[in-house]
């Protein structure tokens, strides 16, 4: 079953919140993982690992550097579900 973009954003916000302690409502599509959410590379890989499991997708390592914002990640995961 495919998740909607809203479901993916909400699920991603939960993962980011668990990892960083930031409130889920601060995890918005336009936010940059590094600049706004202060997520380092190890934390980013943790988020990727948890997102792969949650949404049953594969996010290749080469792709992670392109995921600058939360919205980028939502778009990628949406597309990868197909």
């Amino acid at each position: 079953m495919a998740y909607s973009e809203q479901e993916i954003l909400a699920g991603l916000a939960e993962i980011v919140s668990e990892e960083t302690g930031l409130p889920t409502d601060s995890v918005l599509p336009e936010k940059s993982f590094t600049d706004d959410l202060d997520i380092d590379s190890l934390s980013m890989m943790t988020i990727v690992t948890l997102a792969e499991e949650k949404f049953d997708v594969r996010i290749p390592d080469d792709e992670v550097k392109n995921l600058a914002t939360v919205g980028d990640a939502v778009s990628f995961i949406t597309g990868a579900q197909a």
Partner: protein, 415 residues
């Protein structure tokens, strides 16, 4: 180097089976309470564990630490960081150049719960991509000391000396040496352990070293009692702030006690059994005492390693007698593992805290559960109630021994 600095203790921190901090732990110890509890889970039924209890941590780290932070640490590091924060605050959060601040926090076993959880996850998923990126930083045995170094900006060196159940005491000894050799002015030092997991319980039980007193967990740890039948596993951490006496005096710090001597030796005899004559233990204690320059007659208290095993307790008692001779008659011997259980790599650090507080408060903590003292015990055991220690300059020895034949003795002096 023109002179070797004296090293004093200015801060104490702990989270233990008796309490979530030092004041509650020390109060419970003076009160003769036990931290041993029956497992509140399905381990016994599920795995057929022969041991149904342990001295688990009293206060859940979640009460002292935010969830995102906890998730990045093995429980052994969580306990260490919680204890280090208390110790640092207790020392008055000293202003110190990070290049002159060290951290030495050891664990006997390391991040074994992280290892086991990660392996379990991999087995269950059959997918290498499910293993989390923080797995390695969390399982490393130097993870607790590294987190402490990061938290306080300790850049003189971050170390984790490993010697099984002597690790916590050896860490404090190493911290003392960092200050004496001029590498640091202040060192955050201690030990931690988070090993209560069914695999570890099964493994220690397999070596026949654990008490099987399943019908009465609180009475199971009974060093020097004739019916002792093994140790009780414990979780937790103890951390102290060590400081050169000059540095402490310059900032007007409260000083609990002085670490006057550090003695180290190895048995080179057997992996798990202490060498029967106690020669290695005596060498460690003698080295610490000689380094301290303290007269044997001023040693009024010993916090024994005494884990409640049949053989180990008596060898240590004879070693103390062998070292002190007739002066051992006025030693108040305490075996605090009767209350805390055995914190393995955390034990030597927690017992150093007890030793420091015994001198500071002039009260030797009790040994509980000794219904019938072993007739071969040749020392004066403090039983059930704390014992007042005399006024004036006094000293105490804290012994810690570890699987592998490691012997560590610290001589602590009143100030």
């Amino acid at each position: 180097m023109s002179h070797v600095p004296d090293v004093v203790v200015t801060g104490l921190g702990a989270t233990t089976p008796l309490g979530g901090d030092v004041p509650s732990t020390w109060a419970a110890a003076l009160n003769g309470e036990s931290g041993a509890r029956r497992f509140d889970n399905d381990w016994v039924e599920r795995f057929g564990l022969p041991v149904e209890f342990a001295a688990t941590i009293k206060v859940d780290p979640a009460e002292a630490m935010a969830r995102p932070e906890m998730k990045k640490m093995d429980p052994s590091a969580q306990y260490a960081v919680i204890a280090a924060r208390e110790a640092w605050a207790d020392a008055g959060s000293p202003e110190v150049d990070g290049a002159r601040l060290g951290s030495v926090v050891s664990s006997g076993i390391g991040g074994i719960r992280t290892i086991l959880d990660a392996w379990e996850g991999l087995l269950a998923s059959g997918n290498a991509r499910r293993v989390l990126p923080m797995t390695v930083p969390m399982l490393m045995p130097n993870s607790p000391t590294a987190y402490v170094s990061l938290e306080f900006g300790a850049r003189a060196g971050a170390h984790a000396v490993v010697s099984a159940c002597a690790s916590g005491a050896e860490a404090i000894g190493y911290g003392v040496d960092m200050i004496r050799t001029g590498r640091a002015d202040v060192v955050i030092a201690g030990g931690t352990e988070a090993s209560i997991h069914p695999m570890n319980v099964a493994a220690f039980a397999a070596s026949r070293t654990l008490s099987l007193r399943n019908d009465d967990p609180e009475r199971a740890s009974r060093p020097y009692d004739v019916d002792r039948d093994g140790f009780v596993m414990g979780d937790g951490a103890g951390v102290v702030v060590l400081e050169s006496a000059e540095h402490a005096a310059a900032r007007g710090a409260r000083v609990y006690a002085r670490i006057a001597g550090v003695g180290l030796s190895a048995d080179g005899y057997h992996m798990t059994s202490p060498e029967p004559s106690g020669e290695g233990q005596i060498r460690a204690m003698r080295a610490a005492l000689e380094e301290s320059g303290i007269a044997r007659m001023d040693v009024v208290h010993v916090n024994a390693h005494a884990t409640s095993t049949v053989v180990g307790d008596l060898i240590e008692a004879r070693s103390i007698r062998g070292l002190l001779g007739d002066e051992a008659d006025h030693v108040a011997l305490s075996a605090t593992k009767s209350m805390t259980g055995h914190l393995l790599g955390g034990a030597g650090a927690l017992e150093t805290i007890f030793t420091v507080l015994a001198l500071h408060d002039r009260q030797a903590p009790p040994t509980i559960n000794v219904d019938n003292p072993d007739p071969e015990l040749v020392l004066d055991l403090v039983r059930d109630k704390p014992r007042t220690l005399r006024d004036g300059d006094i000293a105490a020895i804290n012994n810690s021994f570890g699987f592998g034949g490691h012997n560590v003795a610290l001589v602590v002096a009143s100030v």
